[in-house]
């Protein structure tokens, strides 16, 4: 497959507290492995994976940002051009959940209004250490009209689903936008609440 051979190109940015497993999620999805001795991310890392959805080639540009506070101003500069944001917390870490409103504020301030945001609770393999009840997270996500998904980068649970569902949603939005734009109304649309379809058969 040549570099430019794709039907869609989307930018996905992962955000969330340090140590919640963003890098592990990305590596699991792009390289199919759970990296041992994963050091904290410095700045941002950049990875590309092309997937096929319903016969269409979708190129995903995945930006894995550092959660540590001192990199915040670097990561913020990537919000605006993001098509989707994966807001991640660690289900065994109450603190990472309590920081979510702060992250949402950042999104509000820096991201564009059409961005698709999904909430991810990672590390479900550590069920015995769970600190945030599933319903609590689910309710929170609903109150912010976000989709909620629980994953394990370690056990590879829901990781494919996360990225592929997101890609499907982005395709849907892109098609919708095209329709809207053809109505000779080029003004920016309102931020829509995201209705999520599990339209993909995961292949």
């Amino acid at each position: 497959m040549s570099m430019e051979d794709y039907d869609y190109l989307f930018k996905i940015v992962l955000i969330g507290n340090a140590g919640v497993g963003k890098t592990c999620l990305v590596r699991r999805f792009t390289q199919g492995l759970f990296p041992p001795g994963q050091g904290a991310t410095i700045g941002v890392d950049f990875m590309i994976k092309t997937v096929e959805i319903k016969g269409q080639k979708v190129k995903l540009q995945i930006w894995d940002t550092a959660g540590q506070e001192r990199f915040r101003s670097i990561t913020q500069s990537y919000y605006r051009s993001a098509n989707a944001l994966i807001l991640t917390y660690d289900i065994t870490c109450e603190d990472s959940f309590r920081c979510l409103p702060e992250w949402l504020k950042e999104i509000e301030q820096y991201a564009n209004s059409q961005v698709v945001t999904i909430l991810v609770g990672n590390k479900i393999d550590l069920a015995e250490k769970r600190a945030v009840h599933r319903h609590r997270a689910q309710d929170f996500a609903e109150s912010q009209s976000m989709v909620y998904l629980e994953t394990s980068a370690k056990e590879s649970d829901n990781v494919e689903k996360l990225f592929l569902d997101l890609a499907c949603e982005l395709i849907r939005e892109a098609k919708q936008n095209k329709l809207d734009n053809s109505d000779a109304a080029p003004m920016l649309g309102e931020g829509k609440s995201i209705s999520y379809l599990s339209c993909c058969s995961i292949n």
Partner: protein, 775 residues
Amino acid sequence: MADSGGLMSVKRCDSLNSSSVSMETITALTELEDLERVYQQLCSEEKDVEVALDKLVDQQGLINTKMMTLQRMGPNLQLIEGDASQLSGMITFTCNLAENVSRKVRQLDLAKTRLYKVIQRADDILDLKFCVDGVQTSLRDEDYEQAAAHIHRYLSLDQSVIELSRQGEEGGSVDASLLMLQEAEQKLKVVVAERLDAAVAAVDLVQVERFFKIFPLLGLHEQGLARFGQYLCSQLASKAGENLLLATGGDVNEKRAPLVFAETLTLLLEGIARVVETQQPIVETYYGPGHLYTLIIHLQQECDRQAQKIVDKFIQQRDYHSKFQVVQNSMMKSPVPTERIEPRELDPVLMEVTLMNARAELYLRFLRRRMMADLEVGDAQSTTQEHQQNVEKLLKHCLLSTTMQELIGYYIPMEEYYMRESVNKAVAMDSHEKGQLTSSMADDCFYIVKKCISRALSSANIDCLCAMINHSTSALESDFREVLYNKLRQGYPATTLQDFQRGVSSAVSLMQSSLQQGKFNALGIESTEDAKAAFLVTLNNAEVCSENITTLKRNLENDCSKLFTQGPASGDRAKIDSCLSDLVNTSSKFKDLLQEGLTELNSTAIKPQVKPWITAFLSVSHNIEEEEFNEYEANDPWVQQLIVNLEQVMVEFKTGLTSASYDTLTSLMTSLVAIEMEKTVLKCTFSRLGGLQFDKELRSLVAYLTTVTTWTIRDKFARLTQMATVLNLERVTEILDYWGPNSGPLTWRLTPAEVRQVLALRSDFRSEDIKRLRL
């Protein structure tokens, strides 16, 4: 013998069957003929048998002689048997003998090895004794190098041998020697440590290096490196302290002042780099490869401490954090007006921070290179991986790195603020000089964006660079593009002036006289003129921006490849490329804006004027005879005026727009003319000569338009040209000479229905003829 056997079996076989012809067969024969045939056969068989018998008889003699020979061989065989058993006995004997010999050889070999070991041990014991004596004297003479060499010799002796020796007869004396050696070793270790400490305290480099070299001989690598590191650190610390004091003291050279903390940090890092450079050969020689890493760990601790001090002072004296806070507050767009900083005020501090980071980056790269080189010499493949990770960990997570990351974390929002504020200012102070195609903000904004990105680039931090490219993209795309977009949205003013130009020329003079009398609102016209100019300038600005962005991207690509010649990790390259491609996408957004603006200009400023000029075609009759045709020839009724008018309406754009934009606009105008002409022509009636007249007019128009644009306009006028062809026909059926299989190179743009429609415009063509046409 085998032969005779074969014969015998043949014979037996023969006697069984006696003959190929049985008796019964013979008795059954009745015919003479048959009897004769059988007789012949039997005769020949008899002859064969006779021959065979003769052969057998011949062999008898041969067989007899062979039997005789065999009988004579019997006694010989008995002799051979005896010999053979005797031989076997001899072989067994020899074999036993050989086995005995080899056992003895093996024993001999063992004895020899033991002998060697004994000699070795004797040597070792002698060495040991020599060492004992030597150490004593060396210690007495304070020849510590020699003493250490003896101890080193002792330490490298095989410990098990020494153990064994103690069990031997001489055990007692060896024990005593060993004890003495151990005592000497301890003593030497204490003495060397004391002397090194003393040398460190006395800052006596020669002595420090002297004792530093002795440590590895005593197996004290870590200790030696630690103490030496401590010495180097104290040296660095005092120098750094002095430098920082100088930096913060009052009398700093005014020229140095703005960058004094960056310079102080540079001095520190260069100092450490120099230490590494000078000490590396010593460490490598006396400690072996792979130990530089340990020394650098010690040095880095001091580096971290000193760098932190410099950065703390920098933050304090430059009000770094409070500046950041002010910037943060004003970017939050809080409703309450807050304290603001002039972007210009940030210039020096932004410069200083990027310089500091660049120096740190350079220093860390230097350390990585040195440690890697040292490890590569030292280690087997298997361990390098782990060491490499240790090196990366040391460099990435050292305090110097994290401190710099923090500074850059504050730098980025400040640089963003600097850029946005400066761009806003450039927009606010935008000015346009008469005769210039663009206004000041187009170039000013790019100067600012370029400056900010270059500064970020000079930090040598790739994430910092990428962040600033992202912010630039967003500043250009939303802030700056928005400005141009809003200006264009105000539209190109339709003016009373245009109304007059559209009218008779006398009206112009009327207006001029009115102006002189002050009846017209001069201000109104002037501001309309300004608005027009502003619209055109904005279009040019959009075009220039689009070009500038492409240039900026190209230049940045060059700069990046120059700066990161050591080849950044491929991931870093991909990051930069991705951010740059977002930046360059902005370029086409400005192009789109330009295109929209030109379309707008065409439909608001050109179309309303051009339309009536073309409609005027209707008032010039084309249903004409010879006489009118000739008069038109002498006195052009329409097309020349149209051309003059077009020339006139375009002239202000020709001077006001860049040539590329003007060309695009002209192209839009010609399309407009073609479409309007087509509509108008379809409303007319033509005579044969009227058709000819129209053809002439169209040719003049196309010829003119060809001269004003570089775009090809033939295509745009293809339908009109074909209409003229149709209107010029002698007879209705003549169309068939040009249609279908006769069309030749001509591709008809008119549908058959349209051809009929045009034919119907001719007053002299009968509609039945047109209807009857088969197209």
